[in-house]
Amino acid sequence: MDLSPILLSLETSVAATATVTLLGTLAAGWRVRHRGAAFELLDGVFLLPLVLPPTVVGFLLLLLLGRASTLGNLLYGLGLRLVFSWYAAVIAAAVTTFPLMYMTARAALEQVETPLVEVARTLGAGEARIFRQILLPLAWPGLAAGMVLTFARALGDFGATLILAGNIPGKTQTLPLAIFFAVEAGDTEEAVRWSLVTVAISLAALGALNLWTRHRTGLSMRVVQQD
């Protein structure tokens, strides 16, 4: 039996989660320091993939990155054929999960008490150091929760992945795609098999992630209880 959907799903979800954690946290960190109406508009853009149906997200990405577009053509000229590649699957999952991480990271960063940031400033710390040494460590429980959400959602992405990455067994056919096409073909047995595998992976991954975050949260929970 071809086990490639399992491997592809894992690779894609991990890559998407890593990318989104980095980008989402940085975007949230930047946004927390810049307030004002103009930035609220930016929020709308950041959160758009959450509001749109995944298929629409995939379609918009295809419009943006496909060879029919200026950008896509440019990338193609540089030798980057994104559509129908594994990278497309990662991009699709990353775009649909970005809003989740962004929102969670913002909430986590904003709940860090302002006096802590301010006193760090008076002690000579620049914004980068404050972000690294004050905000990130104290926002950790929230960020970890965001990572868990992101991974779960990335694992289950279908619509955007199908349109942008296409259904290519061994290259872009993740578990959700394999399940869908098994159902289309009337192969219920295969569909059930893949579904069970997906459930098993999700439970295992989420369980492992939860254990790890609880361990780290346990350390910081002790210290968060200020007098």
Partner: protein, 258 residues
């Protein structure tokens, strides 16, 4: 200037009576035809011409993949007629005794073609597909999309399937194949001639040799449990009439030589 209360009241009255008004129209017979989505353009044109006839029943289409429509009919979906994109689904229904005897006929045929993005000259023959510049070939998912089945059958008979398999991108329907090729993300694709003719964003490189695949025929039949069998029959007869055939041919279908 009517005040808001009045406007609201009138709207409410209209809303509540609308169903009854609609029912009045239903003196005229209505039929629901389940049809393969690949026939959409043709069916729209045919229905328009059909409705010009006096006393013609109103036709509503339920479009979808032939396989799914077949399953819905098996589960008792209330359709009056079925037009499938391949014989297999119709055969399944016939075996189960779900068709009204004597109403099954082939109403049109189609041909499989190799398409490339409009203006592309890189691929002219099937052999060209083997070239390294061709990286992605869009094809319908073989197990569930009839056009994909036909294409796979043809390529196997032509001993090209194994060589090209690694380049395939499997789409969930023919329209998706068209989108991939017209957007130039796929370098080539397999679609029906009718699909290729429906957009100027793709060019037909060549038709697949007719001998390499089973004929693509669209069977149609009245469903045995239909409440409007006579009306359904009259529609199918229209499809087989010279007028109907003309419309099919105009859109690129072939018509059975009957």
């Amino acid at each position: 200037m009517p005040n808001r209360r009045t406007a609201l009241f009138v709207s409410l009255v209209l809303l509540l009576t609308a169903p009854f008004v609609a029912r009045v129209d239903a003196q005229q017979p209505q039929i629901t035809v389940a049809a393969a989505i690949s026939m959409k353009d043709a069916l729209d044109a045919l229905e328009k011409r059909f409705s010009e006839r006096a006393g013609a029943p109103k036709v509503t289409f339920s479009l979808g993949a032939s396989g799914i429509l077949q399953k819905q009919i098996e589960e008792g979906a209330p359709v009056d007629a079925f037009i499938s994109a391949a014989p297999a689904q119709m055969n399944a229904l016939e075996e189960k005794g779900l068709l009204l005897a004597g109403t099954r006929r082939d109403i049109a045929g189609n041909r499989l073609v190799l398409v490339v993005p409009a203006g592309s000259t890189a691929v002219k023959t099937l052999e060209d597909l083997k070239r390294p510049e061709v990286q992605h070939i869009a094809i319908g998912e073989i197990r569930s999309v009839p056009a994909g089945q036909y294409a796979a059958e043809a390529l196997r008979n032509l001993n090209l399937f194994d060589a090209l398999q690694s380049k395939f991108v499997y789409a969930q329907n023919v329209r998706a194949v068209l989108t991939y090729v017209s957007g130039r993300d796929a370098d080539a694709g397999f679609v029906y001639e009718t699909d290729a003719k429906s957009t100027d964003k793709v060019t037909i490189a060549m038709p697949l040799p007719a001998s390499s695949y089973s004929p693509v025929v669209y069977p149609a039949a009245v469903i045995r449990n239909s409440q409007n069998a006579a009306a359904a029959k009259s529609f199918l007869e229209f499809l087989s009439s010279p007028e109907g055939r003309a419309i099919f041919e105009r859109l690129g279908f072939t018509t059975p030589s009957k």
